[in-house]
Chain length 315, copies 2
Protein backbone atom coordinates (compact mmCIF):
# COMPACT_ATOMS: atom_id res chain seq x y z
CA UNK A 1 0.00 0.00 0.00
CA UNK A 2 1.08 3.54 -0.73
CA UNK A 3 2.56 5.29 2.30
CA UNK A 4 2.19 8.86 3.48
CA UNK A 5 5.85 9.45 2.62
CA UNK A 6 5.35 8.27 -0.97
CA UNK A 7 2.34 10.53 -1.43
CA UNK A 8 4.19 13.53 -0.05
CA UNK A 9 7.21 12.77 -2.21
CA UNK A 10 5.37 12.43 -5.54
CA UNK A 11 3.14 15.40 -4.85
CA UNK A 12 6.01 17.67 -3.79
CA UNK A 13 6.26 20.73 -5.99
CA UNK A 14 2.97 20.14 -7.80
CA UNK A 15 0.04 22.50 -7.54
CA UNK A 16 -3.61 22.23 -8.49
CA UNK A 17 -3.89 25.95 -8.87
CA UNK A 18 -5.84 28.28 -6.57
CA UNK A 19 -9.19 27.34 -5.06
CA UNK A 20 -10.79 26.33 -1.79
CA UNK A 21 -8.93 24.42 0.92
CA UNK A 22 -9.82 20.88 -0.12
CA UNK A 23 -9.97 17.36 1.21
CA UNK A 24 -9.26 14.74 -1.47
CA UNK A 25 -9.82 11.05 -0.77
CA UNK A 26 -9.01 8.01 -2.91
CA UNK A 27 -10.86 4.85 -1.88
CA UNK A 28 -8.92 1.81 -3.05
CA UNK A 29 -9.56 -1.91 -2.83
CA UNK A 30 -7.27 -2.34 0.15
CA UNK A 31 -6.30 1.16 1.28
CA UNK A 32 -7.73 4.65 1.52
CA UNK A 33 -5.63 7.78 1.04
CA UNK A 34 -6.49 11.34 1.97
CA UNK A 35 -4.72 14.61 1.35
CA UNK A 36 -5.32 18.20 2.31
CA UNK A 37 -4.74 20.88 -0.33
CA UNK A 38 -4.34 24.51 0.64
CA UNK A 39 -5.80 27.54 -1.14
CA UNK A 40 -2.82 27.63 -3.49
CA UNK A 41 -3.52 24.04 -4.46
CA UNK A 42 -0.40 22.71 -2.71
CA UNK A 43 -0.46 19.50 -0.72
CA UNK A 44 -0.31 20.16 3.00
CA UNK A 45 -0.56 16.69 4.52
CA UNK A 46 -1.47 13.07 3.73
CA UNK A 47 -3.07 10.26 5.75
CA UNK A 48 -3.68 6.63 4.86
CA UNK A 49 -5.89 3.95 6.37
CA UNK A 50 -6.92 0.42 5.46
CA UNK A 51 -10.18 0.20 3.53
CA UNK A 52 -12.74 -1.15 6.03
CA UNK A 53 -14.82 -4.25 5.42
CA UNK A 54 -18.32 -3.18 4.51
CA UNK A 55 -21.10 -5.07 6.26
CA UNK A 56 -23.67 -4.29 3.60
CA UNK A 57 -24.28 -2.55 0.27
CA UNK A 58 -24.57 0.89 1.92
CA UNK A 59 -20.81 1.29 2.56
CA UNK A 60 -21.33 3.20 5.80
CA UNK A 61 -17.89 2.10 7.04
CA UNK A 62 -16.20 3.84 4.09
CA UNK A 63 -18.17 7.02 4.79
CA UNK A 64 -17.00 6.85 8.42
CA UNK A 65 -13.34 6.67 7.38
CA UNK A 66 -13.72 9.66 5.03
CA UNK A 67 -15.35 11.63 7.87
CA UNK A 68 -12.52 10.64 10.20
CA UNK A 69 -9.96 11.85 7.63
CA UNK A 70 -11.75 15.20 7.55
CA UNK A 71 -11.88 15.38 11.35
CA UNK A 72 -8.20 14.53 11.69
CA UNK A 73 -7.14 17.28 9.26
CA UNK A 74 -9.42 19.60 11.23
CA UNK A 75 -7.52 18.75 14.43
CA UNK A 76 -4.02 18.80 12.97
CA UNK A 77 -4.47 21.75 10.59
CA UNK A 78 -6.99 24.13 12.15
CA UNK A 79 -5.40 26.89 10.09
CA UNK A 80 -6.71 25.16 6.92
CA UNK A 81 -10.44 24.64 7.42
CA UNK A 82 -11.76 22.33 4.70
CA UNK A 83 -14.11 24.20 2.34
CA UNK A 84 -14.71 21.53 -0.28
CA UNK A 85 -14.12 17.80 -0.76
CA UNK A 86 -13.76 15.29 -3.57
CA UNK A 87 -13.79 11.52 -3.19
CA UNK A 88 -12.84 9.01 -5.88
CA UNK A 89 -14.13 5.45 -5.86
CA UNK A 90 -13.51 2.19 -7.70
CA UNK A 91 -16.18 0.29 -9.63
CA UNK A 92 -18.96 1.94 -11.59
CA UNK A 93 -19.38 5.57 -10.55
CA UNK A 94 -21.95 7.89 -12.02
CA UNK A 95 -20.41 11.32 -11.74
CA UNK A 96 -23.51 13.29 -12.65
CA UNK A 97 -25.32 12.23 -9.46
CA UNK A 98 -22.25 11.30 -7.38
CA UNK A 99 -23.42 7.73 -7.03
CA UNK A 100 -21.32 4.64 -6.38
CA UNK A 101 -23.35 2.37 -8.64
CA UNK A 102 -21.49 -0.85 -8.10
CA UNK A 103 -18.24 -2.14 -6.65
CA UNK A 104 -17.47 -5.82 -7.07
CA UNK A 105 -14.62 -5.68 -4.55
CA UNK A 106 -16.15 -3.46 -1.89
CA UNK A 107 -19.71 -4.64 -2.25
CA UNK A 108 -21.72 -1.43 -2.42
CA UNK A 109 -24.68 -0.79 -4.68
CA UNK A 110 -26.24 2.54 -5.65
CA UNK A 111 -24.83 4.55 -2.76
CA UNK A 112 -25.45 8.31 -3.15
CA UNK A 113 -21.97 9.13 -1.81
CA UNK A 114 -21.97 12.78 -2.89
CA UNK A 115 -25.16 13.55 -0.98
CA UNK A 116 -24.19 11.48 2.09
CA UNK A 117 -20.67 12.95 2.28
CA UNK A 118 -21.85 16.51 1.67
CA UNK A 119 -24.15 16.10 4.69
CA UNK A 120 -21.55 14.33 6.80
CA UNK A 121 -18.57 16.57 6.07
CA UNK A 122 -20.62 19.75 5.97
CA UNK A 123 -18.93 20.91 2.73
CA UNK A 124 -19.78 20.40 -0.92
CA UNK A 125 -18.40 16.99 -1.92
CA UNK A 126 -17.87 15.79 -5.46
CA UNK A 127 -17.62 12.08 -6.26
CA UNK A 128 -15.76 10.60 -9.20
CA UNK A 129 -14.20 7.39 -10.44
CA UNK A 130 -10.66 6.51 -9.38
CA UNK A 131 -9.34 5.70 -12.85
CA UNK A 132 -11.07 8.65 -14.52
CA UNK A 133 -9.75 10.93 -11.79
CA UNK A 134 -6.23 9.60 -12.31
CA UNK A 135 -6.67 10.18 -16.05
CA UNK A 136 -7.91 13.70 -15.41
CA UNK A 137 -4.73 14.42 -13.45
CA UNK A 138 -2.39 12.82 -16.01
CA UNK A 139 -4.13 14.50 -18.94
CA UNK A 140 -4.09 17.89 -17.20
CA UNK A 141 -0.56 17.87 -15.86
CA UNK A 142 1.46 15.92 -18.44
CA UNK A 143 3.15 17.89 -21.15
CA UNK A 144 1.94 17.84 -24.75
CA UNK A 145 -1.12 15.72 -24.09
CA UNK A 146 -3.40 15.56 -27.14
CA UNK A 147 -7.17 16.08 -26.81
CA UNK A 148 -7.84 12.43 -27.71
CA UNK A 149 -6.10 10.19 -25.23
CA UNK A 150 -6.58 7.20 -22.96
CA UNK A 151 -5.01 6.24 -19.67
CA UNK A 152 -4.94 2.52 -18.93
CA UNK A 153 -4.37 1.52 -15.33
CA UNK A 154 -3.11 -2.01 -14.76
CA UNK A 155 -3.76 -3.22 -11.26
CA UNK A 156 -5.84 -6.04 -9.82
CA UNK A 157 -8.03 -5.28 -12.82
CA UNK A 158 -7.61 -3.12 -15.91
CA UNK A 159 -9.61 0.03 -16.59
CA UNK A 160 -9.18 3.15 -18.67
CA UNK A 161 -9.90 6.84 -18.55
CA UNK A 162 -10.85 7.98 -22.03
CA UNK A 163 -10.63 11.57 -23.18
CA UNK A 164 -12.40 12.50 -26.40
CA UNK A 165 -11.73 15.92 -27.84
CA UNK A 166 -10.66 17.26 -24.47
CA UNK A 167 -13.51 15.80 -22.41
CA UNK A 168 -13.45 12.75 -20.16
CA UNK A 169 -16.01 10.16 -21.21
CA UNK A 170 -18.18 8.77 -18.42
CA UNK A 171 -21.34 7.39 -20.11
CA UNK A 172 -23.12 7.10 -16.79
CA UNK A 173 -19.98 5.59 -15.26
CA UNK A 174 -19.80 2.65 -17.64
CA UNK A 175 -17.15 3.90 -20.09
CA UNK A 176 -13.58 2.66 -20.00
CA UNK A 177 -14.22 -0.83 -18.63
CA UNK A 178 -11.56 -2.08 -21.03
CA UNK A 179 -10.46 -4.90 -18.73
CA UNK A 180 -13.45 -6.63 -20.15
CA UNK A 181 -12.31 -6.34 -23.80
CA UNK A 182 -12.03 -9.81 -25.27
CA UNK A 183 -8.69 -10.54 -26.91
CA UNK A 184 -7.27 -13.59 -28.66
CA UNK A 185 -3.52 -14.10 -28.38
CA UNK A 186 -1.17 -17.01 -28.82
CA UNK A 187 0.47 -18.29 -25.67
CA UNK A 188 2.77 -21.12 -24.70
CA UNK A 189 -0.37 -22.88 -23.41
CA UNK A 190 -2.18 -22.43 -26.73
CA UNK A 191 -4.69 -19.79 -27.74
CA UNK A 192 -5.87 -17.47 -24.98
CA UNK A 193 -9.26 -16.01 -25.68
CA UNK A 194 -11.08 -14.00 -23.07
CA UNK A 195 -11.23 -10.69 -21.21
CA UNK A 196 -7.84 -8.98 -21.17
CA UNK A 197 -8.00 -8.79 -17.36
CA UNK A 198 -7.56 -12.56 -17.29
CA UNK A 199 -4.17 -12.40 -19.00
CA UNK A 200 -2.71 -8.92 -18.50
CA UNK A 201 -3.82 -7.57 -15.12
CA UNK A 202 -1.22 -7.59 -12.38
CA UNK A 203 -3.21 -10.34 -10.66
CA UNK A 204 -3.39 -12.44 -13.83
CA UNK A 205 0.33 -12.09 -14.54
CA UNK A 206 1.19 -13.33 -11.04
CA UNK A 207 -1.36 -16.14 -11.22
CA UNK A 208 -0.28 -17.29 -14.68
CA UNK A 209 3.38 -17.26 -13.71
CA UNK A 210 2.72 -19.26 -10.54
CA UNK A 211 0.63 -21.80 -12.43
CA UNK A 212 3.12 -22.24 -15.26
CA UNK A 213 6.33 -22.24 -13.20
CA UNK A 214 5.04 -24.00 -10.10
CA UNK A 215 6.61 -21.15 -8.09
CA UNK A 216 4.28 -19.00 -6.03
CA UNK A 217 4.84 -15.23 -6.31
CA UNK A 218 3.33 -12.41 -4.30
CA UNK A 219 2.56 -10.22 -7.29
CA UNK A 220 3.32 -9.15 -10.83
CA UNK A 221 6.38 -7.14 -9.82
CA UNK A 222 7.97 -10.42 -8.69
CA UNK A 223 7.36 -11.77 -12.20
CA UNK A 224 9.02 -8.67 -13.63
CA UNK A 225 11.94 -9.22 -11.27
CA UNK A 226 12.25 -12.87 -12.29
CA UNK A 227 12.20 -11.83 -15.95
CA UNK A 228 15.02 -9.37 -15.34
CA UNK A 229 16.94 -12.20 -13.64
CA UNK A 230 16.64 -14.32 -16.79
CA UNK A 231 13.63 -16.50 -15.93
CA UNK A 232 12.22 -17.68 -19.26
CA UNK A 233 8.75 -18.51 -17.99
CA UNK A 234 8.49 -15.04 -16.48
CA UNK A 235 9.51 -13.54 -19.83
CA UNK A 236 6.93 -15.65 -21.63
CA UNK A 237 4.06 -14.74 -19.28
CA UNK A 238 5.03 -11.07 -19.45
CA UNK A 239 5.27 -11.11 -23.26
CA UNK A 240 1.84 -12.71 -23.54
CA UNK A 241 0.35 -10.00 -21.31
CA UNK A 242 2.04 -7.32 -23.39
CA UNK A 243 0.72 -8.82 -26.63
CA UNK A 244 -2.80 -8.83 -25.17
CA UNK A 245 -2.41 -5.18 -24.14
CA UNK A 246 -1.41 -4.37 -27.73
CA UNK A 247 -4.60 -6.08 -28.94
CA UNK A 248 -6.66 -4.08 -26.47
CA UNK A 249 -4.99 -0.84 -27.54
CA UNK A 250 -5.88 -1.69 -31.17
CA UNK A 251 -9.53 -1.87 -30.08
CA UNK A 252 -9.22 1.55 -28.42
CA UNK A 253 -7.69 2.92 -31.62
CA UNK A 254 -10.47 1.45 -33.79
CA UNK A 255 -13.19 2.96 -31.61
CA UNK A 256 -11.96 6.34 -30.35
CA UNK A 257 -8.54 6.82 -32.02
CA UNK A 258 -6.51 8.26 -29.14
CA UNK A 259 -3.24 9.97 -30.06
CA UNK A 260 -1.67 8.97 -26.76
CA UNK A 261 -2.20 5.99 -24.49
CA UNK A 262 -0.76 6.45 -21.01
CA UNK A 263 -0.07 3.41 -18.84
CA UNK A 264 -0.34 3.55 -15.07
CA UNK A 265 0.08 1.00 -12.30
CA UNK A 266 3.24 -0.63 -10.99
CA UNK A 267 4.04 -2.58 -14.16
CA UNK A 268 4.19 0.60 -16.22
CA UNK A 269 7.56 1.30 -14.63
CA UNK A 270 8.97 -1.41 -16.94
CA UNK A 271 10.32 -0.17 -20.25
CA UNK A 272 9.56 -3.65 -21.58
CA UNK A 273 5.88 -3.01 -21.04
CA UNK A 274 5.76 0.29 -22.90
CA UNK A 275 8.06 -0.82 -25.72
CA UNK A 276 6.32 -4.17 -26.04
CA UNK A 277 2.83 -2.67 -26.19
CA UNK A 278 4.02 -0.17 -28.79
CA UNK A 279 5.37 -2.98 -30.95
CA UNK A 280 2.34 -5.27 -30.47
CA UNK A 281 0.00 -2.38 -31.29
CA UNK A 282 1.86 -1.22 -34.40
CA UNK A 283 1.86 -4.80 -35.71
CA UNK A 284 -1.96 -4.61 -35.63
CA UNK A 285 -2.45 -1.18 -37.20
CA UNK A 286 -2.95 -0.42 -40.85
CA UNK A 287 -3.93 3.07 -42.04
CA UNK A 288 -4.58 4.21 -38.47
CA UNK A 289 -2.67 6.78 -36.50
CA UNK A 290 -0.38 4.97 -34.09
CA UNK A 291 -0.86 6.54 -30.66
CA UNK A 292 2.12 7.52 -28.58
CA UNK A 293 2.54 4.94 -25.78
CA UNK A 294 3.71 6.66 -22.62
CA UNK A 295 4.12 6.18 -18.91
CA UNK A 296 1.95 7.88 -16.31
CA UNK A 297 3.83 10.44 -14.28
CA UNK A 298 1.85 10.76 -11.09
CA UNK A 299 1.94 7.17 -9.89
CA UNK A 300 -0.15 6.41 -6.82
CA UNK A 301 -1.17 10.02 -6.24
CA UNK A 302 -2.83 10.51 -9.65
CA UNK A 303 -6.29 9.73 -8.25
CA UNK A 304 -5.81 12.17 -5.36
CA UNK A 305 -4.60 14.94 -7.65
CA UNK A 306 -7.50 14.22 -10.03
CA UNK A 307 -9.86 14.49 -7.07
CA UNK A 308 -8.18 17.74 -6.05
CA UNK A 309 -8.66 19.11 -9.57
CA UNK A 310 -12.40 18.53 -9.23
CA UNK A 311 -12.42 21.15 -6.48
CA UNK A 312 -10.75 23.57 -8.94
CA UNK A 313 -13.09 23.31 -11.89
CA UNK A 314 -16.60 22.69 -12.96
CA UNK A 315 -16.32 19.36 -14.71
CA UNK B 1 -27.41 1.45 -56.31
CA UNK B 2 -29.99 3.67 -54.70
CA UNK B 3 -32.37 5.26 -57.20
CA UNK B 4 -33.87 8.73 -57.29
CA UNK B 5 -37.28 7.22 -56.54
CA UNK B 6 -35.98 5.47 -53.41
CA UNK B 7 -34.41 8.67 -52.14
CA UNK B 8 -37.57 10.68 -52.72
CA UNK B 9 -39.66 7.98 -51.08
CA UNK B 10 -37.62 7.65 -47.87
CA UNK B 11 -37.17 11.39 -47.54
CA UNK B 12 -40.85 12.18 -48.08
CA UNK B 13 -42.36 13.99 -45.15
CA UNK B 14 -39.05 14.59 -43.37
CA UNK B 15 -37.66 18.04 -42.75
CA UNK B 16 -34.26 19.30 -41.67
CA UNK B 17 -35.78 22.43 -40.25
CA UNK B 18 -35.39 25.93 -41.66
CA UNK B 19 -32.14 27.20 -43.13
CA UNK B 20 -30.51 28.04 -46.44
CA UNK B 21 -31.41 26.30 -49.70
CA UNK B 22 -28.85 23.52 -49.65
CA UNK B 23 -27.13 21.03 -51.91
CA UNK B 24 -26.27 17.77 -50.12
CA UNK B 25 -24.08 15.17 -51.81
CA UNK B 26 -23.15 11.66 -50.66
CA UNK B 27 -20.09 10.22 -52.42
CA UNK B 28 -20.22 6.43 -52.29
CA UNK B 29 -17.89 3.71 -53.50
CA UNK B 30 -19.92 3.08 -56.63
CA UNK B 31 -22.55 5.81 -56.79
CA UNK B 32 -22.99 9.48 -55.93
CA UNK B 33 -26.31 10.93 -54.74
CA UNK B 34 -27.34 14.56 -54.57
CA UNK B 35 -30.40 16.25 -53.16
CA UNK B 36 -31.67 19.79 -53.02
CA UNK B 37 -33.27 20.98 -49.78
CA UNK B 38 -35.46 24.11 -49.72
CA UNK B 39 -35.50 26.81 -47.04
CA UNK B 40 -37.98 24.80 -44.99
CA UNK B 41 -35.54 21.88 -45.04
CA UNK B 42 -37.76 19.76 -47.27
CA UNK B 43 -36.31 17.67 -50.08
CA UNK B 44 -37.06 19.19 -53.47
CA UNK B 45 -35.30 16.84 -55.88
CA UNK B 46 -32.68 14.07 -56.11
CA UNK B 47 -30.11 13.07 -58.72
CA UNK B 48 -27.75 10.10 -58.83
CA UNK B 49 -24.66 9.36 -60.90
CA UNK B 50 -22.00 6.67 -60.95
CA UNK B 51 -18.88 7.53 -58.95
CA UNK B 52 -16.19 8.33 -61.53
CA UNK B 53 -12.84 6.61 -61.68
CA UNK B 54 -10.21 8.94 -60.27
CA UNK B 55 -7.02 9.21 -62.29
CA UNK B 56 -4.94 10.35 -59.34
CA UNK B 57 -4.98 11.17 -55.63
CA UNK B 58 -6.52 14.62 -56.23
CA UNK B 59 -10.04 13.30 -56.98
CA UNK B 60 -10.77 16.05 -59.54
CA UNK B 61 -13.35 13.82 -61.23
CA UNK B 62 -15.41 13.61 -58.04
CA UNK B 63 -15.29 17.39 -57.67
CA UNK B 64 -16.51 17.69 -61.29
CA UNK B 65 -19.55 15.49 -60.60
CA UNK B 66 -20.45 17.51 -57.47
CA UNK B 67 -20.19 20.72 -59.52
CA UNK B 68 -22.38 19.19 -62.24
CA UNK B 69 -25.00 18.23 -59.60
CA UNK B 70 -25.04 21.86 -58.46
CA UNK B 71 -25.32 23.12 -62.03
CA UNK B 72 -28.15 20.73 -62.84
CA UNK B 73 -30.19 21.83 -59.82
CA UNK B 74 -29.49 25.41 -60.90
CA UNK B 75 -31.01 24.68 -64.32
CA UNK B 76 -33.97 22.62 -63.16
CA UNK B 77 -34.79 24.63 -60.02
CA UNK B 78 -33.87 28.26 -60.68
CA UNK B 79 -36.42 29.21 -58.02
CA UNK B 80 -34.18 27.52 -55.39
CA UNK B 81 -30.73 29.05 -55.77
CA UNK B 82 -28.25 27.00 -53.72
CA UNK B 83 -26.91 29.03 -50.78
CA UNK B 84 -24.87 26.37 -48.97
CA UNK B 85 -23.57 22.87 -49.62
CA UNK B 86 -22.45 19.80 -47.64
CA UNK B 87 -20.65 16.81 -49.07
CA UNK B 88 -20.05 13.51 -47.27
CA UNK B 89 -17.22 11.20 -48.21
CA UNK B 90 -16.03 7.68 -47.41
CA UNK B 91 -12.62 6.85 -45.92
CA UNK B 92 -10.84 9.02 -43.37
CA UNK B 93 -12.31 12.51 -43.32
CA UNK B 94 -11.06 15.28 -41.09
CA UNK B 95 -14.09 17.45 -40.49
CA UNK B 96 -12.26 20.34 -38.84
CA UNK B 97 -10.44 21.21 -42.08
CA UNK B 98 -12.83 19.55 -44.54
CA UNK B 99 -10.10 17.23 -45.80
CA UNK B 100 -10.49 13.84 -47.44
CA UNK B 101 -7.44 12.33 -45.78
CA UNK B 102 -7.54 8.89 -47.32
CA UNK B 103 -9.89 6.68 -49.30
CA UNK B 104 -8.75 3.13 -49.98
CA UNK B 105 -11.51 2.56 -52.56
CA UNK B 106 -11.45 5.88 -54.37
CA UNK B 107 -7.75 6.54 -54.12
CA UNK B 108 -7.54 10.10 -52.90
CA UNK B 109 -5.07 11.44 -50.35
CA UNK B 110 -5.26 14.69 -48.39
CA UNK B 111 -7.68 16.47 -50.69
CA UNK B 112 -8.91 19.79 -49.21
CA UNK B 113 -12.45 19.16 -50.50
CA UNK B 114 -14.13 21.88 -48.42
CA UNK B 115 -11.86 24.58 -49.83
CA UNK B 116 -11.97 23.26 -53.42
CA UNK B 117 -15.76 22.84 -53.42
CA UNK B 118 -16.40 26.20 -51.76
CA UNK B 119 -14.42 27.79 -54.62
CA UNK B 120 -16.00 25.67 -57.32
CA UNK B 121 -19.63 25.89 -56.18
CA UNK B 122 -19.37 29.49 -55.06
CA UNK B 123 -21.14 28.75 -51.76
CA UNK B 124 -19.85 27.70 -48.33
CA UNK B 125 -19.35 23.93 -48.45
CA UNK B 126 -18.95 21.69 -45.40
CA UNK B 127 -17.32 18.27 -45.71
CA UNK B 128 -17.99 15.33 -43.44
CA UNK B 129 -17.73 11.56 -43.28
CA UNK B 130 -20.48 9.41 -44.78
CA UNK B 131 -20.95 7.13 -41.79
CA UNK B 132 -20.72 9.94 -39.23
CA UNK B 133 -23.20 11.97 -41.29
CA UNK B 134 -25.59 9.01 -41.41
CA UNK B 135 -25.20 8.65 -37.65
CA UNK B 136 -25.85 12.36 -37.18
CA UNK B 137 -29.14 11.96 -39.06
CA UNK B 138 -30.20 8.79 -37.24
CA UNK B 139 -29.27 10.19 -33.84
CA UNK B 140 -31.07 13.47 -34.52
CA UNK B 141 -34.25 12.13 -36.07
CA UNK B 142 -34.87 8.81 -34.32
CA UNK B 143 -37.10 8.86 -31.27
CA UNK B 144 -35.74 8.35 -27.76
CA UNK B 145 -32.09 8.27 -28.80
CA UNK B 146 -29.78 8.38 -25.76
CA UNK B 147 -26.77 10.70 -25.67
CA UNK B 148 -24.37 7.77 -25.78
CA UNK B 149 -24.99 5.77 -28.93
CA UNK B 150 -23.30 4.19 -31.91
CA UNK B 151 -24.46 3.56 -35.44
CA UNK B 152 -22.78 0.66 -37.19
CA UNK B 153 -23.07 0.57 -40.98
CA UNK B 154 -22.52 -2.79 -42.62
CA UNK B 155 -21.63 -2.47 -46.28
CA UNK B 156 -18.58 -3.37 -48.30
CA UNK B 157 -16.80 -2.54 -45.05
CA UNK B 158 -17.97 -1.85 -41.51
CA UNK B 159 -17.70 1.52 -39.82
CA UNK B 160 -19.41 3.30 -36.97
CA UNK B 161 -20.56 6.74 -35.98
CA UNK B 162 -20.02 7.16 -32.26
CA UNK B 163 -21.86 9.68 -30.16
CA UNK B 164 -20.51 10.41 -26.69
CA UNK B 165 -22.65 12.50 -24.39
CA UNK B 166 -24.49 14.05 -27.31
CA UNK B 167 -21.46 14.80 -29.48
CA UNK B 168 -20.21 12.88 -32.49
CA UNK B 169 -16.64 11.68 -32.04
CA UNK B 170 -14.28 12.37 -34.94
CA UNK B 171 -10.73 12.28 -33.49
CA UNK B 172 -9.30 13.84 -36.62
CA UNK B 173 -11.41 11.50 -38.75
CA UNK B 174 -9.96 8.31 -37.31
CA UNK B 175 -12.70 7.37 -34.81
CA UNK B 176 -15.23 4.64 -35.53
CA UNK B 177 -13.10 2.45 -37.77
CA UNK B 178 -14.62 -0.55 -36.04
CA UNK B 179 -14.39 -2.76 -39.13
CA UNK B 180 -10.83 -3.13 -38.04
CA UNK B 181 -11.70 -4.50 -34.55
CA UNK B 182 -10.14 -7.92 -34.17
CA UNK B 183 -12.59 -10.61 -33.06
CA UNK B 184 -12.22 -14.32 -32.37
CA UNK B 185 -15.27 -16.47 -33.07
CA UNK B 186 -15.88 -20.15 -33.66
CA UNK B 187 -16.93 -21.10 -37.16
CA UNK B 188 -17.65 -24.29 -39.07
CA UNK B 189 -14.15 -23.84 -40.57
CA UNK B 190 -12.54 -23.56 -37.13
CA UNK B 191 -11.54 -20.44 -35.21
CA UNK B 192 -11.84 -17.16 -37.11
CA UNK B 193 -9.54 -14.51 -35.74
CA UNK B 194 -9.12 -11.22 -37.53
CA UNK B 195 -10.75 -7.88 -38.36
CA UNK B 196 -14.52 -8.10 -38.17
CA UNK B 197 -14.77 -6.78 -41.73
CA UNK B 198 -13.35 -10.09 -42.89
CA UNK B 199 -16.25 -12.08 -41.48
CA UNK B 200 -19.24 -9.77 -41.05
CA UNK B 201 -19.18 -7.15 -43.82
CA UNK B 202 -21.66 -7.64 -46.65
CA UNK B 203 -18.74 -8.46 -48.93
CA UNK B 204 -17.31 -11.02 -46.48
CA UNK B 205 -20.66 -12.72 -45.99
CA UNK B 206 -21.10 -13.15 -49.74
CA UNK B 207 -17.51 -14.30 -50.19
CA UNK B 208 -17.62 -16.76 -47.31
CA UNK B 209 -20.90 -18.24 -48.49
CA UNK B 210 -19.60 -18.66 -52.05
CA UNK B 211 -16.42 -20.29 -50.82
CA UNK B 212 -18.15 -22.68 -48.42
CA UNK B 213 -21.11 -23.65 -50.63
CA UNK B 214 -19.39 -23.57 -54.00
CA UNK B 215 -22.29 -21.42 -55.22
CA UNK B 216 -21.46 -17.90 -56.40
CA UNK B 217 -23.74 -15.14 -55.08
CA UNK B 218 -23.95 -11.50 -56.09
CA UNK B 219 -24.08 -10.20 -52.53
CA UNK B 220 -24.99 -10.69 -48.90
CA UNK B 221 -28.71 -10.21 -49.51
CA UNK B 222 -28.61 -13.36 -51.64
CA UNK B 223 -27.14 -15.19 -48.64
CA UNK B 224 -29.97 -13.83 -46.51
CA UNK B 225 -32.47 -15.03 -49.13
CA UNK B 226 -30.87 -18.48 -49.22
CA UNK B 227 -31.05 -18.65 -45.43
CA UNK B 228 -34.73 -17.81 -45.50
CA UNK B 229 -35.19 -20.59 -48.10
CA UNK B 230 -33.65 -23.10 -45.67
CA UNK B 231 -30.04 -23.20 -46.90
CA UNK B 232 -27.99 -24.44 -43.95
CA UNK B 233 -24.65 -23.09 -45.16
CA UNK B 234 -26.20 -19.66 -45.56
CA UNK B 235 -27.59 -19.88 -42.02
CA UNK B 236 -24.16 -20.89 -40.73
CA UNK B 237 -22.28 -18.07 -42.49
CA UNK B 238 -24.88 -15.56 -41.34
CA UNK B 239 -24.78 -16.82 -37.73
CA UNK B 240 -20.98 -16.55 -37.68
CA UNK B 241 -21.18 -12.94 -38.91
CA UNK B 242 -23.78 -12.13 -36.28
CA UNK B 243 -21.65 -13.66 -33.53
CA UNK B 244 -18.70 -11.55 -34.66
CA UNK B 245 -20.88 -8.41 -34.63
CA UNK B 246 -21.86 -9.26 -31.06
CA UNK B 247 -18.17 -9.48 -30.14
CA UNK B 248 -17.51 -6.11 -31.77
CA UNK B 249 -20.46 -4.55 -29.94
CA UNK B 250 -19.00 -5.86 -26.66
CA UNK B 251 -15.81 -3.94 -27.48
CA UNK B 252 -17.85 -0.78 -28.11
CA UNK B 253 -19.61 -1.30 -24.78
CA UNK B 254 -16.31 -1.79 -22.92
CA UNK B 255 -14.82 1.40 -24.36
CA UNK B 256 -17.64 3.95 -24.68
CA UNK B 257 -20.72 2.22 -23.21
CA UNK B 258 -23.40 3.26 -25.71
CA UNK B 259 -27.00 2.82 -24.56
CA UNK B 260 -28.15 2.19 -28.12
CA UNK B 261 -26.42 0.62 -31.11
CA UNK B 262 -28.16 1.29 -34.39
CA UNK B 263 -27.47 -0.93 -37.39
CA UNK B 264 -27.60 0.38 -40.94
CA UNK B 265 -26.94 -1.15 -44.34
CA UNK B 266 -29.04 -3.64 -46.30
CA UNK B 267 -28.53 -6.54 -43.89
CA UNK B 268 -30.02 -4.56 -41.02
CA UNK B 269 -33.42 -5.17 -42.59
CA UNK B 270 -33.17 -8.76 -41.27
CA UNK B 271 -34.69 -9.32 -37.84
CA UNK B 272 -32.26 -12.23 -37.51
CA UNK B 273 -29.39 -9.75 -37.57
CA UNK B 274 -30.74 -7.50 -34.84
CA UNK B 275 -31.99 -10.32 -32.63
CA UNK B 276 -28.83 -12.35 -33.16
CA UNK B 277 -26.50 -9.46 -32.32
CA UNK B 278 -28.53 -8.71 -29.22
CA UNK B 279 -28.19 -12.30 -28.06
CA UNK B 280 -24.48 -12.59 -28.95
CA UNK B 281 -23.77 -9.31 -27.17
CA UNK B 282 -25.71 -10.13 -24.00
CA UNK B 283 -23.89 -13.46 -23.78
CA UNK B 284 -20.66 -11.44 -23.53
CA UNK B 285 -21.76 -8.82 -21.00
CA UNK B 286 -21.41 -8.99 -17.26
CA UNK B 287 -22.17 -5.98 -15.05
CA UNK B 288 -22.41 -3.69 -18.09
CA UNK B 289 -25.48 -1.92 -19.37
CA UNK B 290 -26.77 -3.84 -22.38
CA UNK B 291 -27.37 -1.33 -25.15
CA UNK B 292 -30.62 -1.39 -27.07
CA UNK B 293 -29.94 -2.90 -30.52
CA UNK B 294 -32.04 -1.13 -33.12
CA UNK B 295 -32.46 -0.69 -36.84
CA UNK B 296 -31.57 2.50 -38.67
CA UNK B 297 -34.62 4.30 -40.00
CA UNK B 298 -33.31 6.43 -42.82
CA UNK B 299 -31.76 3.72 -44.99
CA UNK B 300 -29.80 4.97 -47.99
CA UNK B 301 -30.69 8.63 -47.43
CA UNK B 302 -29.22 8.87 -43.93
CA UNK B 303 -25.94 10.29 -45.26
CA UNK B 304 -27.76 12.90 -47.36
CA UNK B 305 -29.96 13.95 -44.47
CA UNK B 306 -26.90 14.09 -42.20
CA UNK B 307 -25.20 16.29 -44.80
CA UNK B 308 -28.30 18.47 -44.96
CA UNK B 309 -28.27 18.85 -41.17
CA UNK B 310 -24.74 20.27 -41.42
CA UNK B 311 -26.21 23.24 -43.31
CA UNK B 312 -28.62 23.74 -40.38
CA UNK B 313 -26.23 23.86 -37.48
CA UNK B 314 -22.79 24.72 -36.40
CA UNK B 315 -21.30 21.33 -35.68
Amino acid sequence: MTTRAEILSVAAGRSLGPGPVALAVDVGGTGMKAVLFDEAGRLVEAITAPTPECADAAAGEVVDVVAEFGAEFGRTHPDHPIAEAAVVLPGIVEEATGTGVFSANLGWRNVPFARILTDRLGVATTVSHDVRAAGRAEFALAEEMPGNAAMVTIGTGIAAAIMVEGRLVSAGGFAGEVGFCEVAVDTADGLFRGPIEHIASAAAIARRYSARSGTAVAGSLDVLGAMHAGDEIAAEVFAEAVDALGAMCAQLVAVVAPEAIVFGGGLSSADELLDGVDEALRARLDFHRAPHIRRAELGPVAGLIGAGLLTRSTR
